[in-house]
Subunit: 215 residues, 2 copies
């Protein structure tokens, strides 16, 4: 297997999203430069990324959108429903339960787990269960992926429980660096950090009239 | 001004978060290798990042945590309350209104705006106002930063309105590539993409027993 990094896979997702939009606009074929423009990369980047997966366009006709989408969906595992669990049903967790865009994208949160009995019960048709039921649920349902939306201090112990239950991928929202035992990928979404980062550049522009972005 | 990129600023945020935790554990001084370990970078990276901002440790004593935190807060604009607006008070927007961690971090959502009259009114002490009031509010309050949590199709027109009102930084949650006119920084948080990315690696591991992460 060609070793592929996160950035390539992220771009594949973005190509897929753009292709869906082109398709909804009635496009049947597309050239790499259109796709590049929509995603904000160069067209040689598009062709390079696709060639990594053995996808090649036609110089005169470009790419056939339906075939390209089918291949991208297959690579990204979108051809079957991806079942994930959510740990932590606080403010952010509750929002993620309600967040309709995941389902549109072929990902279903099948259950949430929380330590607080007040949070247990069904919410938006998703059961919120006691944390102690988590291990059995993961085993019985063969769950491999979890979303972690717990407070900072709980994040590492919960991650340890998840990996010991066989979870292979975690999307962590706690603003803390986590260490996964064994073979588990942890991706981070740090909202505070994103906002702080943005504010730095806004302030820098205010002071100097320049974004200061050397990147 | 030294041109500094997003990654450096993101690491400064992460150093700050780790330092706050070390301080809460009773630490007064810290060596770069401790900080590096907590953040998941090398200690030479820590020293290099700090030296960009004229921060130098003491070889025998390391860094004084309180002075270092003060300097980092100053660089990141955390010494004064940062006021931001939110556009879009749907599921995700509502969750962001409730999300307490922003305030802990010195960022306050002072108002939200939505096109839907049913959403107007106060929510968790934050006013949700008509979209048509946005321009006046931004001007009167001198707002520079906005969080965008609107549906895909609304994102670009709203961004255009925000930049024409003088907004300099936008944190965009819509899963779509946006183009900002003039001097406005747009940072993206794409939850679907993060989850899709994770699932790719989980599936790759299932198939091959390897993360395939060449990064």
């Amino acid at each position: 297997m060609v070793r592929k990094n996160r950035k390539v896979i992220s771009r594949l997702s973005r190509y897929k999203n753009a292709l869906n939009r082109f398709q909804s606009l009635g496009f049947v074929k597309i050239f790499s430069d259109y796709l590049a423009e929509a995603v904000g990369v160069t067209s040689s980047q598009v062709r390079k990324d696709f060639s990594l997966f053995g996808i090649h366009g036609n110089k005169r006709g470009g790419y056939q959108i339906d075939a390209l989408l089918e291949r991208l969906n297959e690579i990204l595992g979108k051809n079957e429903l991806q079942r994930v669990i959510l740990v932590g049903a606080g403010n952010l967790g509750s929002a993620l339960i309600k967040y309709k865009n995941f389902e549109k994208d072929g990902v279903k949160i099948v259950a949430a787990f929380d330590i607080d009995p007040a949070k247990h019960g069904d919410r938006d048709s998703i059961p919120v269960l006691p944390l102690d039921d988590m291990q059995r649920f993961i085993a019985e349902q063969g769950i491999k992926t979890a979303i972690l939306a717990v407070p900072d201090v709980a994040a590492q112990p919960i991650l340890d429980r998840l990996t010991s239950c066989g979870i292979k991928g975690v999307l962590n929202f706690a603003p803390i660096q986590l260490k996964a035992e064994g073979r588990c990928v942890v991706n981070h979404v740090n909202l505070e950090l994103e906002l702080e980062n943005l504010i730095y550049f806004v302030n820098a522009m205010e002071k100097t009239g320049d974004t200061g972005l050397g990147n």
